[in-house]
Symmetry: D2
Subunit: 387 residues, 4 copies
C-alpha cells in the first residue's frame, strides 16, 4: 500500500565528481514520491559537506562517515527517520555499508556488483534475511519496459523452448590507460583491491548475465571464459568473452568489453527459441523485435496498448515520446519503494513477490564473476557453483 | 545565480486523467531543484483536491479556481510564496490564466500553443513585457541536446547557406473519432471553442515549425497550406501539409498529421545547406546525422565530448545511456528556472539571453497557425504577417 | 510462352561514359535470357564503334545513326532480326528514336521520362497503338519485389481507404554547377533543349509519382508545385516540392531534389490508409514496413514465403541474400520480355495484362511534369489534365 | 589483359531445383563478359538434359557425367574449348570434380567449403599447383565493395592494432527437421557422408572465418568451440559457437547458427582496433560504419568517391542505387575471370596477385572446420594446425 507521504532516504557515496550517485538521485526524484534528506556523500568530509549543500540537505544530516550516519539516523524519531538508504560507493564498500545499515534497521538499495566477492555475497544474504529488511540491487537494465515485455513473452511460452542466448555489452571507455591519469572511476574499477577479482565482467558482464537471466530464468551450468587485459599495465581484464551452457540444454554467448572503440553502452540481447526469437538493444530501448521463422518480424514499441500489463505499468508517457535510461532506473526505485512502503507498514514481504533485483540476484552475479575468473585462469570449461 | 534552496511552484491544470501535467511535474522533479507546493489541478474542485492529495500537496494550498489560487498565493509571505506557476490547461485557458498570474506577480511556464489566437498572443506579449516576469513556453523539443547541437552547427555556418527544410510530425491518435467517445484529450483538441482555429497544426504543426525556426533562425515569408478533416464529423483539420517559403530564399515542407496509421510521435527534421545537411528524429533523439556531398556521413551522439558546449550542458549522463523526452522537457524547465532564479534575485533579464522558448516564440507560433488556416481556406499562397 | 532461344536486342545510346545504358545491359544480362547483338551507342560514330567492340558486338551491327540501324536491322532475316531495341539516349531523342523503331516493326524498351513533352507523349501513344508492338518504359523502381508487395496490399484493401501519400526523392548530385564543367549527364539534364521543361521533377520526380501511382492506383486531381533553381545560372529547377490532391480525397506530398546534401537516391514512399500504413525506402529495398494503429509494426522481407505470389515471383534468391537495384531493373526487363515473347509468337497482348510500365504510364508522367511546371509558374493550385 | 571475346564456361551441378548454381550463373552473366556453353547439371542424366535446355545449352554439350564432360570438352578445338568450369555440386564432389577438370587442363571456380576434409584440401592444393591453372573458391562475401574497403582500412593501419573480432552468421532455415521431409538442400547438408564432419560451421561458419581473415589477415592460434545439434535426430551440428585466439594477441568470437528463429543470412562482422573499429552487415551491405573513441562515427557508403580505389573498382553503379549479393558474387567471378584471361594468354600468375579466394583459402577453411570439430568433441581449447 502506498504511503500518504514521500519516502525519505539517505545516500552513501555519490558526492561531487561521482557518476552513479547522481543517476540514483534522478531516478529517485522522477516520480515525486521519494525525497533525499541525509547523506554521507564522500569519504572526504569536506567533499561530503559541499555535496550536501548542493543537494539542499540540512547540514546536520550530512555526515563524515557512514557509521556515524547510521548511528545518528537510527536515533531520530520515527517521523524523521530514513525509510531507506542508497549505497553508491565503490564495490569494496558495498558489503560493510550494507551490513551497517541493515543491522541498524534500515532498508537498503545498493549498486552492483553487490559485494567484493562471492563469500561476502553469501554473508550479506544471511544478514538481509536476518534483518527482515528490503534489499534491492540496481541491476537497472531490467527496469526497461521492453525488457519486462521480453520476460513476459518467454514466461508465456511464446518463444517455445529457449535454444540460444547472445548477450553483449561492449564499451570503449577503458581503451586508454585512464587509470594512469588518476581518473577516479577508472582508478578504482581497475584496482583489484577496490573492484574485486574482475574489472570488465564485474562491472558490465554481470549486467549482461543478469539481463539474460531476468528474461529467460535460465540457470548456468558451465562457463568457458577468456579474459584479456589489452591495455598495458592493467591488472584486471578489460575484455571478457564467455561461452555458456545453461541447464536444460540452451547455449549462450555472453561478452563484455571496455576496449571496443566507439561503443558507448551497447548492451544488447538476443534470445532464440524454437518458435520465435527476441532482440533488444539498450541504446534504442523503445523497440523489442520479435522474429519468426515463417511470418513478418514484429517491432513492439514502448507504451503501446498491446503490451503486457507488466510492461505497460513500467511506462510513464505515451508511445512515441521516448523514455530511456533514467526512467528505467527509476522503475527499479519505484518497485523497490513499493516493497519498502510495505515494510514500513509491516506488510513485507508480500506473497506475490516483487519485481526488482534482490540479494539472490547479487549472490548469483558474484558467483557468475567468480566462475568466469576461475575459468579464464584455468583456461577451461568450469562448473557454476551450487548456491 | 543559483538559489540556495529549491524553487517552489504551483500548477494549474494537470489533475487526474490529464496527460501533460504529469510530464511537467516529472520534468520539474528530475534534477531535485524544484518542488511542487500548490495547485489548482482541475476545474472540478473535487478532482482538484484528490489530485492534490496524490501529489502530497498541503490541502490548504490545493485550490478550486485559479483566480482564488493567484490571490491566496500572492498573499503568502516571501519564504513560502511560489517562484512560478506552470499552466497545463486546455488552450483556451492559457491566456486568462497566464494574465492572472503574471499580473499577480508570478513567473509563468505555460504549455503550447500559447493562446487561443494571434490576437490574444499579442495581448499576452504586452502583459509579459509590462510584468517584467519570466514567461516560458514549453516547446519542449528544443530541449533535446542534439537539437541544440543542430542549432549550433547552423549558427557556425557548418551547413553553408540553408537551402531547404523538411519538418514532419505524423501521429495516428486521431485516426478514429475518439471525440465521439468523449475521450477527454480528443474532445477538447477537436473542439474549435477550446482548441482554437486548428487542431493538428495548432497542436503539433507548431512544434515542427518551432523546431525548424529554433535550429535555423529562418523567418517565414509565405505559406501554402492544405488542411483535411479525414474523420467524418470532425470540424477541425486532422492533417495539414504546408509548402513554406522562407525569407532569403530557402524552401520548406512542413507537415503534421494525426491520422497517419502507426505513427507515434514521429517528429523529424532535415535541414539541407549548401555544404552539408542535418537529420534528426525525435523518436531516436540520441543521434544527429550530418550528410556531406563528398565525405562519409557522420552520426553525432548525445553526451560525447566532441559536441558543442551548449549540447553537452544539456546532457545529464554519459553517452550510451540514452536520455529522452522527459530529460529534454526537463531542460526547458532548467533553463527557464535559471531565468526565474535571476528574476527572484533582481537580475532578470541577463544580457546574454536565455535558451528557452518565450512569449515571442508563442506569438510567432500563433501567427504560423493563423497563416496556415488562412491559406488552407483560401487555397492559395499566403503572406506571413508582420509581427 | 517462353521462347526456346534467347531474345535478341539492340541498343540506342549507352556508349562509353554513359550511365543508364550499362544499367540496361546488366539488367538484360542477369537472367541469361536476352542477348545484345546490335547497337548505335553514340551520336559520335567513333565512340559508337569503340563501344560496340567493348560489348563484343559484331562490327557490321554497330551503327553510326539510329535511322541507319533501324533500316539495316529490319532488313535482316527473321532468325537474326532483333526482337526489341532499348533506347537510352537523352530525353529529347526518346520520341524520334521510338517512332523510328516502332514504325520499322520493332518492340521497344525506352528509358524515362518518355518524351520531351506531353504533346509528343500523346503522339507516341498513337504510334504504339498503331504498331501493335510492345512499348515498355523503365520506371524501374516498380520492379522491386517489395514495391509489388505494397501494391498487392493496397489492392487487397489491407490498408483500408488511402488517406495520404508521402513520396520523396532527394539526391545531391546537382548541388554544385556540374554543367559548367561540362559533365555530360549534368549538361543535358539541366538544358531545356535536351531535357524538356523540367530537370529535377522530370528526371526523378516522375519516379516518385510513378511509384505512388503504381502502389495505390490513385489519380491526381490537382497539384500545387514550387520549383527552385538553387544553383546560380541554372535555368531548370533542381528542387521541386508538390502538394497533391488525389481523386477520391486522398492527399499527397511529392517532392524531388537534386541539391540535398548527402542524399544519394533516397527515394521513399509512405502510404497511409484508414487501417494501416506502408513504408518503403529504395536504399534499403528489402524491407516493407507495415504500421498499424493498434498492433506491432511488421517488417516484411524480400524473398519470404509469406509474401504475395506477385512479390515472390519477382525474387531470384532466398531471403537474407539481398537483391537490389539491378535485380529490380531486370524485373522490368523480364516482364517486358514476357510480352515481347508473346508478340513474337503472335499472342500479344494477353487479356490478363502485364506488369511493366507502358506508354500510358509515359503519358501520365509527362502530364505530371507539365502540370507541375504550370503550377510552379502560376504559383497556384492547378488541375491535372484529362488524358 | 582482357580478351577480345567472352569467356566460355561449363557448369557441374546446378540443375533444376538446385540453389547455388543459379547464383553462379547470374553472377557470371551480369557483366556480359562470360557465357555458359556446356554443363553436366545433375547426376541424373534426364534432369541434366532438361536443365541444359532451360539454359539454351547445345544438347551435344549437355553431359550425363562430369568425367564424360571433361573428356569431351578437352577434345574440342581451341576456339570452342571452355575457358573454365564452375563446380556447384554438394561438398563431397568438390574434390573429385575439381581434380578431374584441373587435370584435364581447365581452370576451375568451385563453391565452398572446398573439400570434404582437410586431407583432401591439402591434396587439392598440390593438384592446383601442379596444374598451373586458376582455382577460385566462391567465398563470395569478400566480393562486397564495403568488405574490400574494410580490408583496406585495416591494411593502412587506420584501425591501429586489431584487438578483437566479432563475426556472426545466424540463419534459421534448419530450425525444423527439413531433412526428414527430404528437402534436397537440407538432406545433403545434414548428412555427414555428403557434407563432411560439420554442417553449420562447414556451410556458413567458414564464411564468417573467411570474412574475418580477409579483412584482418589475422591467423588463428587456438579455438574453443561448442557444437550443438538442436533438432532431434540430427547428427551434425546446427549451431556452433567459437572463442578464437589469434596470433599476436587479438581475440575473437565467431559463431554460426542455422536454428536462430527469424534470422535470414545475418552475417556481420565487427573489428575493433586500438584506434577505431569497423562494423558491417551483409543484409545491409551498402554501409560500413567506422566508430572512433573520440569523434563522430562515420558511415561509408558503397559507390562514393571517397572510398579506396579497390572498393570503388568493385562497384558498378553510383551510390544510392544499392548493389547487393549477386553483384558481390559477380565480383568474385570478375576477379577470377581476370586471372583466367591471364592464364589463357600465358600470363598467369601476375606478380601483384589477385583478389579472389583461392586454394590456400580453401585449405585454411578446412583446417578451421577440422579444428572446430576437434575442439567441440574434446570440449577444450585446441591449437590450429600448421599448414
Amino acid at each position: 500500500m502506498k504511503l500518504k507521504r514521500k519516502l525519505r532516504y539517505g545516500m552513501i557515496g555519490g558526492g561531487r565528481d561521482a557518476f552513479i550517485g547522481a543517476v540514483h538521485r534522478m531516478a529517485a526524484n522522477l516520480d515525486g514520491q521519494i525525497e533525499l534528506v541525509a547523506g554521507c556523500f564522500s569519504s572526504d568530509p569536506g567533499r561530503s559537506r559541499l555535496s550536501g549543500l548542493d543537494l539542499f540537505i540540512a547540514p546536520e544530516r550530512t555526515y563524515s562517515s557512514y557509521e556515524e550516519m547510521a548511528k545518528a539516523e537510527a536515533a531520530l524519531p520515527e517521523d524523521q527517520r530514513l525509510d531507506f538508504v542508497s549505497i553508491v560507493t565503490p564495490n569494496f564498500l558495498h558489503f560493510p555499508v550494507s551490513k551497517c545499515f541493515l543491522e541498524a534497521g534500515f532498508n537498503v538499495i545498493c549498486d552492483k556488483p553487490m559485494t567484493f566477492d562471492l563469500k561476502e555475497a553469501k554473508a550479506l544474504k544471511k544478514i538481509v534475511e536476518k534483518s527482515g529488511k528490503v534489499f534491492a540491487l540496481t541491476h537497472n537494465y531490467t527496469g526497461y519496459p521492453m525488457v519486462k515485455e521480453a520476460r513476459e513473452w518467454v514466461k508465456k511460452g511464446k518463444l517455445g523452448n529457449i535454444l540460444k542466448i547472445v548477450a553483449e555489452y561492449p564499451q570503449d571507455w577503458l581503451l586508454s590507460a585512464l587509470e594512469a591519469d588518476d581518473q577516479k572511476q577508472a582508478a578504482w574499477r581497475t584496482d583489484p583491491k577496490r573492484a574485486g577479482a574482475s574489472c570488465c565482467v564485474g562491472d558490465i558482464g554481470t549486467h549482461a548475465e543478469n539481463l539474460a537471466r531476468y528474461i529467460t530464468d535460465l540457470e548456468i551450468d558451465e562457463i568457458c571464459a577468456e579474459f584479456t587485459s589489452f591495455v598495458p599495465g592493467r591488472t584486471l581484464e578489460d575484455d571478457g568473452n564467455m561461452l555458456v551452457r545453461y541447464k536444460g540444454g540452451a547455449k549462450g554467448i555472453v561478452y563484455a568489453s571496455q576496449i571496443s572503440s566507439g561503443e558507448e553502452n551497447n548492451l544488447s540481447i538476443r534470445v532464440y527459441g524454437s518458435k520465435a526469437s527476441l532482440e533488444w538493444h539498450q541504446e534504442n530501448p523503445t523497440d523489442l523485435v520479435v522474429k519468426y521463422p515463417d511470418k513478418p518480424r514484429e517491432t513492439l514499441k514502448r507504451g503501446q496498448g498491446y503490451l503486457t500489463p507488466v510492461a505497460q505499468a513500467a511506462c510513464r508517457i505515451p508511445p512515441g515520446h521516448p523514455e530511456a535510461f533514467l526512467e528505467a532506473f527509476a522503475n527499479t526505485y519505484t518497485n523497490a519503494a513499493e516493497a519498502i512502503a510495505d515494510e514500513i507498514q509491516g506488510k513485507y514481504p508480500r506473497k506475490k513477490g516483487y519485481d526488482f533485483p534482490n540479494v539472490d540476484d547479487g549472490v548469483y552475479g558474484m558467483a557468475f564473476i567468480e566462475t568466469c575468473v576461475k575459468s579464464a585462469k584455468a583456461k577451461k570449461w568450469t562448473k557454476f557453483p551450487k548456491l
